[in-house]
């Protein structure tokens, strides 16, 4: 049964991604946290594959797990001597307990809303030739993505280039020797 397989792979992926996410905040060493975050991002890419978003899955692996995390590991190893002993002093001892209570409240509130809140109206689903599955089956995955990007989201896509230029300039100004 295909459905059983999907369910088993979903639960395995769910447990693995949550466990590696907890690893990100639980490891003492920042390098271990970064490696655990890479694992989480790879599991999320598998989630995207399961949901049929091929291009997003590949971009997730190339850009997130590749480029962004390499940048992170660069900085972590650069500051490694300092990054370890910052966790020794506990200035606000009740901070952890309050954070735990707030986290439980947040996950409880979100689950409550998911189970009892309004459901997504099925009339919101795309119909006819606009359906993603229709475009994917007639033209292909990347073609469907590109069509949606350059037809409906062309302006946000161009604004993105402005954002990247500002980020590059900001990094250059901050990284320059004062």
């Amino acid at each position: 049964m295909i459905d059983i397989q999907t369910q088993i792979s979903f639960f395995v992926l769910a447990v693995a991604s949550v466990a590696s996410a907890i690893g990100v905040i639980a490891f003492k060493n920042a390098v271990n946290s970064a490696l655990s975050l890479i694992l989480t991002l790879l599991f999320l890419a598998l989630f995207y594959l399961q949901l049929g978003a091929m291009f997003i899955a590949i971009v997730q692996i190339l850009i997130y797990a590749g480029a962004i995390m390499v940048l992170f590991l660069f900085v972590v190893t650069m500051l490694a001597s300092e990054a370890d002993d910052t966790e020794l002093r506990d200035r606000i001892p009740w901070q952890r307990w309050v954070a735990g209570i707030l986290g439980l409240t947040l996950v409880g509130a979100l689950s409550y809303l998911l189970f009892t809140g309004t459901t997504i109206d099925s009339s919101a689903k795309a119909t006819g030739a606009n359906r993603l599955s229709h475009v994917v089956s007639t033209q292909g995955n990347i073609e469907a993505f590109g069509q949606a990007l350059f037809h409906g989201f062309a302006f946000p896509f161009e604004v993105t280039s402005l954002l990247i230029i500002v980020a590059i300039l900001g990094a250059m100004v901050l990284g320059r020797k004062a």
Partner: protein, 99 residues
């Protein structure tokens, strides 16, 4: 799989990220927790996109990815320049808006 199952995984991942920001005092790990929260939201975008059979959710993920990359570049540059001037990256010590 049902849509709500993906949304619950997304909610749990988001909460783990919030806890990381609240508990840890190493700014690098706080940054990683922010990335975790962005990815949790991306998961729900992709799940809803697949549920609605529309490509719009994947477009949002693409834009979030770009914003996350820009944020990481600027944020890590700020952390490195703070470390250069103060030799110390504990967030509890950073309570002034000047070097």
């Amino acid at each position: 799989m049902q849509l709500s199952a993906y949304l619950i995984v997304s909610a749990i991942l988001f909460t783990v990220g919030v806890l990381g920001v609240l508990i840890r005092r190493n700014p690098l790990i706080i940054f990683m927790s922010i990335e975790l929260m962005l990815n949790a939201v991306n998961l729900s975008f992709v799940a809803i996109s697949s549920f609605l059979d529309s490509a719009d959710g994947q477009m949002f993920v693409f834009l979030v990815l770009t914003v996350a990359a820009a944020e990481v570049v600027v944020g890590l540059a700020i952390i490195v320049s703070i470390f250069r001037t103060r030799r110390n990256i504990d967030v509890d010590d950073m309570n002034l808006l000047r070097g």
